[in-house]
Symmetry: C2
């Protein structure tokens, strides 16, 4: 096998640990210099490939690459851009091949969620459909935890830990205030269709906190919800509500919509928390506080889960190893061996079975009344938030690395997306 | 001096480190058993004194009390309740004396902010006005950092660290997304009248982040604000906005009001972030994300500042020492000796000069354009967020202590507030 270069890019919403996967990919490739040439990173995801805006990662020191492991966000820039099908947009695929050829790229590592798995799958078919030999491996990443086959997705464990810790802390706060002031605290969390992140708020129950969860998987029933909150406040003097941004009425209408849509056509949500809080105030008269975690939750590297960081790195590493074994159109996965003690290993899934499939919370992870998590869910979640993996600090702030991101000289004509 | 018992209570909004002050008070009192009898904590602040709902802290193990140092929120419950003046409500003062007498209380430690300092000051005058000998010492606590005389207030350093870290992390996130998606991230922070918390967001600039800050001290000018954001996005491709909940128009109207008021008559705010975000979207067309940190910021013991924890403990300890020296109507303070290296010592302030005085950001801590912090402000803030002081964890969650909070047997008739 002639020595080829590799392309790596980050896609979709970034996470606290996507750079740990980048670290895994780059460090592993550097350990196989006999087989893999340079790793070129796409500036802003696949757009970097289309526009020939490649970053030469060989210009970064070993120390800088190692520091990616403790740095949140996408070090090379991410994008929200989904390749159309070959029939709909042959021009873009031809351009990709042109860029790959110009820079001798034979490996394509794409680090993203469901939509990105679809892009990666399309690229993996280029050998067959367009006659250009490229091995495309998807590195899973999504805070939403909604990819199929893999037991969990890198990025999720850390956001789950953030939400569990934040729910616990804010609940301690509202409990302190409940006698004369705030009785209900509402936290809005991410998760358009799947309630995995919201479920993590339920882990605060471990320490006796009354938590009411509003999942996207359960149609919102205002009357039942208010009765639940009322009962909780009656019993405990206070309660916390964790509401998923994707929580919706039976007709599909979200509790709150900002009205804007992202590049994939998804509604951009936000603002369910104040809606829920006001509902409680009007019906029950309880004073409330609400928070919307938004980016804070998925960027919170300072409270990342050790399990998550290790898995993010391991799957980046495995992606390169799968490529070296000649694989194409696959994604390394987390396979759970046991809950307690938590044991897992790296598996592999065909991209054809990953792309465009969403994994929702199983109904038996949600309590019969629809407002809490079951023991089964708790057993699933707990290992994923386990362990702390603190970044280094200087003068009170985490020392996150910023790469030089030096561009590779362009060889081709400009391309308009 | 005959041996008297002590009363300790927590008041107002709780913080990540108010329990560290409680720990300082109780551990120090336990070290002076020859002079101080039992420490009784008021359940839910001063309300516990009025209703004779006292918690016997001697029932708690040394281990449990030590764990208060790493536990956020108010372990004995807090309250939003301000004593009226003696002329307006003599009945409550008489009741306090009745309870103090019944339980042989000679020391009154009140842990709170500006309103609580006023309550503490009123109690300190009971010796003179009502002939009952009691020494009242105020232990400062407020995330708002708006108490006078003291260089800073316990509780502030940790919320400042949380906001600085969160702004940094979310800004890394928006920078990753800016090419094809979100360009402006808006974070709403606490601070009704003083912009200290918002200022902490400016510390993210240390790592090259473009941050626009909206202070309550600077009247909001929409045109200037939008021009600033536009220039930042033009230059950096993205920017972060940190908006104080107290940010308001020249006529005093807040950017967003929920319309409800707390027990002190303050408007309960929230929702400035979506207002600002939509403003940016409409005027500049930039895609946005927004977060409201609310309780998450002041409860975030997981990312507490070491400086803050140490000061919170030290001032609790000093309060007891001041009492043992026979002082009354005072508050221990932080006196800064130098910025770099950061050195400080405990000072003391008369409560007559603390009660009902608010300390705002000096104008020279804010840049001339009103949207940033100066080097002077940075030199002030940096030592306050310095150092990490992580709580212990188990199964991925911080192990926060929950006390037994056993009530002292009542001796008096019921009292209606």
């Amino acid at each position: 096998m002639a020595k080829k270069n590799a392309f790596y890019a980050q896609s979709g919403g970034v996470t606290a640990v996507i750079n740990a996967s980048a670290c895994g990919v780059i460090e592993t490739a550097r350990n196989h210099k006999d087989k893999i040439g340079k790793v070129y990173a796409g500036r802003n995801g696949i757009i970097g490939a289309l526009t020939e805006d490649l970053i030469d990662t060989t210009k970064e020191s070993a120390k800088a690459i190692a520091a990616l492991r403790t740095t949140p966000s996408g070090a090379f820039g991410s994008c929200r851009f989904k390749l159309k099908s070959l029939e709909q947009n042959k021009r873009e695929y031809e351009r990709l091949i042109e860029v790959f050829k110009a820079h001798n790229i034979g490996y394509f590592f794409y680090n993203g969620g469901g939509d990105s798995a679809d892009t990666c799958y399309k690229v993996s078919q280029l050998s067959e459909t367009m006659g250009y030999p490229v091995q495309a491996i998807h590195v899973p990443k999504t805070v939403d935890n909604d990819l199929p086959i893999t037991d969990c997705c890198p990025g999720f464990g850390s956001v789950a830990k953030y939400i569990a810790v934040s729910t616990l802390e804010a609940s301690f706060d509202v409990r302190s205030m409940a006698k004369t002031s705030t009785k209900v605290f509402v936290l809005e969390v991410m998760g358009r269709h799947a309630g995995w992140i919201a479920a993590a708020g339920g882990l605060a129950e471990e320490q006796g906190i009354p938590v009411v969860i509003l999942f996207p998987e359960i149609e919102f029933d205002q009357k039942k919800f208010l009765a639940k909150v009322s009962a909780m406040v009656e019993k405990h003097g206070y309660c916390s509500v964790v509401v998923s941004e994707g929580c919706h009425y039976p007709d599909g209408k979200f509790l709150a919509e900002q009205g804007t849509r992202d590049a994939f056509g998804h509604a951009q949500l936000g603002g369910a928390a104040p809606v829920v809080a006001n509902m409680v105030k009007e019906a029950l008269g309880h004073k409330f506080h609400w928070a919307v975690a938004d980016y804070l939750q998925r960027a919170a590297r300072h409270i990342a889960s050790k399990t998550d960081v290790e898995q993010a790195y391991a799957l980046g590493k495995s992606a390169v190893e799968l490529a070296l074994k000649g694989q194409n159109a696959v994604m390394p996965t987390v396979e759970r061996i046991s809950d307690k003690p938590y044991k897992w290993k790296v598996g592999v899934a065909p991209l054809s079975k990953v792309a465009n499939v969403e994994k929702f919370m199983p109904r038996n992870f949600i309590t019969p009344d629809g407002f809490g998590i079951t023991e089964k869910c708790r057993a699933y979640l707990t290992p994923l938030i386990k362990g702390e993996d603190y970044p280094p600090y200087k003068d009170g702030l985490p020392q996150y690395v910023q790469l030089k991101n030096i561009a590779v000289a362009k060889k081709l004509a400009e391309f308009k997306i």
